[in-house]
Assembly symmetry: C2
Homo-oligomer: 653 residues x 2
């Protein structure tokens, strides 16, 4: 048996809009989605399947629109300031409160503020009342028999009020779309068992992302435990979901072209395939089919296994179909213009959806592209927006004005602090602290290393940049690099902490690593940081001092973007050691061979000091309890924390 | 006992923001809102009360990012196009699918598309694989021990995925804010009994608007049956709600200064009043208090009884407090710029919230103010937006560019057809028909009479205007008025129907009304239409022909804005007769004394004929089944329906 010939080959990919069109064409929504009757007071969010006509008028009677007295307007025409008309209770007026019916024959209300008590049973007024003054007339709001709401109308909270006011207690609505999600894969663990995964295992989570998203559409999602990679098991699960009444069955993973990808074949067995492959990344391995036979006319969806791909499949392909089934359109996302923080190349041929951290810098919005892998759910959890790079484009240039589709409310963007620069665990501590403020601030970090942060500052793309660049020539930090790379910019440098850098090694240091010299040993595998990272520059400096060529370090070319990622490589024995901060080693209980102290500073344009958010940031950094929490992490010293740095200070005050 | 001295007098009103500030100051949210633990997969929409740190890394192992073969990159460096490297299964490569762990020692994946089968157990590749190519490395998405989500973070569907992927199965969140709504009023009927109201009675509905709105905030609303207007009953109901665990108790109605308004006094008995009266209309009679004693520190809210006032109290005062209790901000509404269709005066001293019908006319958005009474829930159900007239303003001028806060998705506005003009029941039929299209259109009518519609056309504020103006001099409809009032405009006139106008009288015609001459009888009370309405112009013509002075018609000065409202006055004997269309009389089973036939036309700028929405409208009007439904209403003839009218046509073709 060969490794290639039993695999599915994609049909040519189609645009998501075309996939949606094919699904709509293949489904008969009039047959698929029935009407049902629900109580009016619980109908919010449902969609009317019939026009609704008012049963009662509202109000059903002429009623007082103000607190005061009901009168016959003709009795009051003579009233003038200084020449009052006196009215007798019972005969000429009746006290009324707002909403009360007007007594027979009376046609106006005088507000209580304009009524003067004359005796126990008489009042004086000094102005005439015009007919129907302060009177709510019959049917002013709703007239019986009139159309209250049309068919195919999504019921709002206000509509619920109108329904009840009109005496409507039940409404005919389209039934909710029932979707069943079936996760698949031998390596996938059922999250309900609360597992701890071993190598080769993954905790199933897409079903729950799906469930929460589908619920937000007003649909009725359900899910099954993971189904193993056996065609007959998958076919049985899909058939079972159809028999259970699902209008749509979504199979998670297995939609691609691997030897264990049975989704397409399963759909072919149960009906016919409408599309395989959409021209968007992430999301490409999406399969659409329609069932035939006993439960004919249901939609079958093969969603990709990668979490971001699955989300794109759900949001770009499935949502429009689900909304259409109940005669609605997707509400769409708020779109804003934002400046792209850095060049973002993209492979032509597929549209690419890029996740963005978006915040206000100066007067406009800046969007920093987040990590792009389809497997990174955190690229969505960190994002405030996405943007689309068209299929024919080779990417976006830095500073391009892009259209950002917001995933979060527009009103929240002003509270987003976009940090671009070096990664440090204290930033997480700081992020959490900022969310605890009375007016919370959301710190979003784009980890591009110290040099990347300086570039972002140069382009006006970051509010501030975390930076820890050591200059061997002067023994100073950051300033020599600012002078060289950002000449003429008015920048302020605030120290966040002094931190301990060293070699992270496995617990017990089994390979006996003592220092940089050991990195040249053939039995030592190293895991490096990316180009431009301050930590990599530090490594290069120490290698150079020790006379070791990078090429002789095994693994020098393997790059990670954060200290913690390096630490995890060491923990899992994927590498013997890596250079990083003490806090990362401590978090994963690794041993640590100290190499150097360094200053981790926040660099920002001096103009940003007047930004209230930066003032808040400085206030938080200055707090003693926050600094104590930094020291408690281990590997951080705080003698300079919060202070403005000057050139030549090095590690001293 | 007098009618004035037992009434509450408002404290000076304060801005809603100040009311919110006072509520926040009076509440200790750390004491009021507890933490609770929920399962991660059901946590969407909840707010974290603690930072969440990852328990597992994701992936927990180096894994294949593509379907293909895992290799040692070093083994492939020599591969070139035309000079392939052959690899042996087991020794040099292993087939892998996306997500599978990389076998020990292998560090790259070659995509299946780039693998050529050489023999049963060997493959050829023609390009080198670089190290870590198509490999998802350990912790690429999530690193164990790192901050996954900060405190006070509202959990999204994506976050649910990240939680499970990180091995987090339970999360600490803020408990949901529990609110209890207590409707009050002797005249208020419990909707759960499905009542039919008599005069003086109102179906309670605010509790359900409240419930749907509060649920949309993520809060936990509950409600009680209506409580009668007795202070001790209200006090008991509030105390009971507090004892039941409500963080916030909302009393519906009774918050004003009427003799049965006990909310303020009740709050004073249970705690202290923080504010009475907010400087916004609708919404002014809002009371805020805080409880003392056994259940101290809970918020007490007196919401006004009018539905729109209640909504303003909930959305402008209560929502910010509820969100703040769970450390959030209201998401806010999307704001757009729109041109105001007509002058909108406003009383200085209070901010006024005006409901708006908003749709696209030409290139921009036009906003037509809807009816302004605080008692009109339909002014909210019809609205796409609201705007605020500041307290110090005397109103907005026609054509003013206003900021509209959208109540519906921006994406839906293009499908809104703004009709400004005369009212007719066929417009409801048409509205319902348009919602049944594959691409539904939403018809929103602002009823200002035929002349008002022409003014709107003149100002470019309406897509089209319903118009039925009879010119006695020529015997023609509409064109003489267009020539006089809109000279030089290129307009198209489409007939919608010929309709029957007449006197609507009570069933059996008890007063024996035979024609216009009877309107001068002193025993006959009339209900009129508003100035500018075509029906009023028709009445004036017939009165003039009969030689009857308007002043001699009892009720000539009483105005309603629609046929149906006139019909309801007749049905409830509030008037003996009114002029209107047959369809309105038939709907309410009234008798009808025919007076005249008239042409009801749609007038529109000829340029709008190219608007695809107008093309759809014409297509629908032209359908035979739609015309049949019009005729089935009764009182409509359709020989001209859908045709373009020419001057001088009158009622003939």
């Amino acid at each position: 048996m060969s490794d290639t010939d039993d695999r599915n080959i994609y049909l040519s990919t189609i645009a998501p809009e075309e996939a949606v069109r094919r699904a709509k064409n293949a489904l008969d929504r009039a047959a698929l989605i029935r009407q049902e009757t629900v109580t009016a007071h619980e109908s919010c969010g449902r969609v009317t399947s019939q026009p609704i006509f008012a049963r009662c008028s509202s109000p059903t009677f002429h009623s007082a629109a103000m607190d005061g007295i009901a009168v016959r307007s003709a009795d009051t025409f003579a009233a003038r300031e200084g020449s009052p008309v006196t009215l007798a209770k019972g005969r000429d007026y009746a006290p009324v409160n707002t909403g009360h019916p007007l007594p027979e024959g009376m046609d106006a209300v005088v507000m209580i503020e304009h009524v003067e008590q004359a005796g126990d049973n008489s009042v004086r007024i000094e102005a005439p009342a015009f007919p129907w003054q302060h009177v709510r007339r019959i049917g002013e709001d709703i007239v019986a028999t009139e159309l209250l709401l049309p068919q195919n109308h999504a019921l709002s909270p206000y509509d619920v009020g109108a329904l009840l006011a009109a005496g409507i207690y039940e409404v005919d609505v389209w039934e909710r779309v029932r979707l069943t999600f079936i996760p698949t894969g031998d390596e996938v663990l059922d999250f309900t068992a609360r597992p701890t995964p071993k190598a080769g295992q993954v905790i199933e989570s897409n079903s729950q992302v799906f469930r929460a998203i589908a619920a937000s559409w007003g649909a009725q999602p359900s899910f099954t435990p993971p189904v193993p990679d056996r065609p007959e098991a998958l076919a049985a699960a899909v058939a079972n979901a159809l028999a259970g009444g699902a209008h749509i069955v979504v199979v998670g993973a297995g939609s691609s072209a691997g030897s264990k990808d049975f989704t397409r074949a399963t759909f072919e067995g149960l009906g016919r395939v409408l599309a395989h492959g959409i021209s968007v990344m992430p999301g490409k391995p999406t399969v659409l089919g329609v069932s035939e036979g006993e439960f004919a006319g249901r939609l079958l969806v093969g969603a990709p296994g990668y979490p971001v791909s699955a989300v794109v499949c759900l949001e770009d392909v499935l949502e429009p179909v689900v909304r259409w089934l109940v005669r609605q359109s997707p509400p769409g996302r708020t779109r804003i213009r934002a400046r792209l923080a850095r060049k973002t190349p993209s492979r032509p041929g597929l549209e690419e959806i890029v996740r963005l951290a978006v915040g206000k810098v100066g007067q406009g919005y800046v969007a920093a592209p987040l990590a792009r892998g389809a497997g990174l759910i955190t690229s969505l959890t960190k994002a405030q927006a996405v943007t689309r790079i068209p299929a024919q484009s080779e990417g976006l240039e830095q500073d391009a004005m892009i259209e950002a589709e917001l995933l979060t409310p527009l009103s929240g963007l002003d509270a987003v602090l976009v940090h671009i620069g070096s990664h440090d665990n204290i930033l997480d501590l700081l992020a959490n602290e900022l969310m605890g403020l009375a007016e919370p601030l959301q710190l979003v970090s784009s980890h591009v290393g110290s040099m990347g942060g300086l570039t972002a500052l140069k382009n006006g793309a970051a509010l501030f940049a975390g930076c820890h660049l050591f200059d061997p020539a002067t023994g100073d930090f950051n300033f020599p690099f600012l002078a060289k790379h950002l000449p003429g910019m008015d920048l302020t440098v605030l120290n966040l902490a002094i931190r301990h850098q060293g070699l992270m090694v496995a617990k017990g240091n089994p390979k006996g690593i003592r220092g940089v010299a050991d990195l040249a040993r053939p039995d030592i595998s190293f895991i490096n940081r990316q180009r431009g990272a301050g930590t990599r520059i530090l490594l290069d400096h120490h290698l150079s001092q020790a006379g070791i060529a990078p090429a002789s370090v095994r693994g020098y070319e393997r790059e990670e973007y954060t200290h913690m990622a390096v630490a995890v490589n060491v923990l899992t024995l994927a590498a013997d050691c890596g250079l990083g901060i003490f806090a990362a080693a401590k978090a994963l209980d690794l041993d640590f061979v100290p190499l150097a102290l360094e200053r981790y500073d926040l660099v920002l344009p001096t103009a940003h000091l007047s930004d209230p958010r930066i003032q808040t940031l400085r206030e938080v950094i200055g707090r003693e309890d926050f600094q104590r929490r930094m020291r408690d992490l281990g590997g951080y010293d705080t003698p300079l924390t919060g202070q403005m740095m000057r050139p030549g200070m090095g590690l001293g005050a």
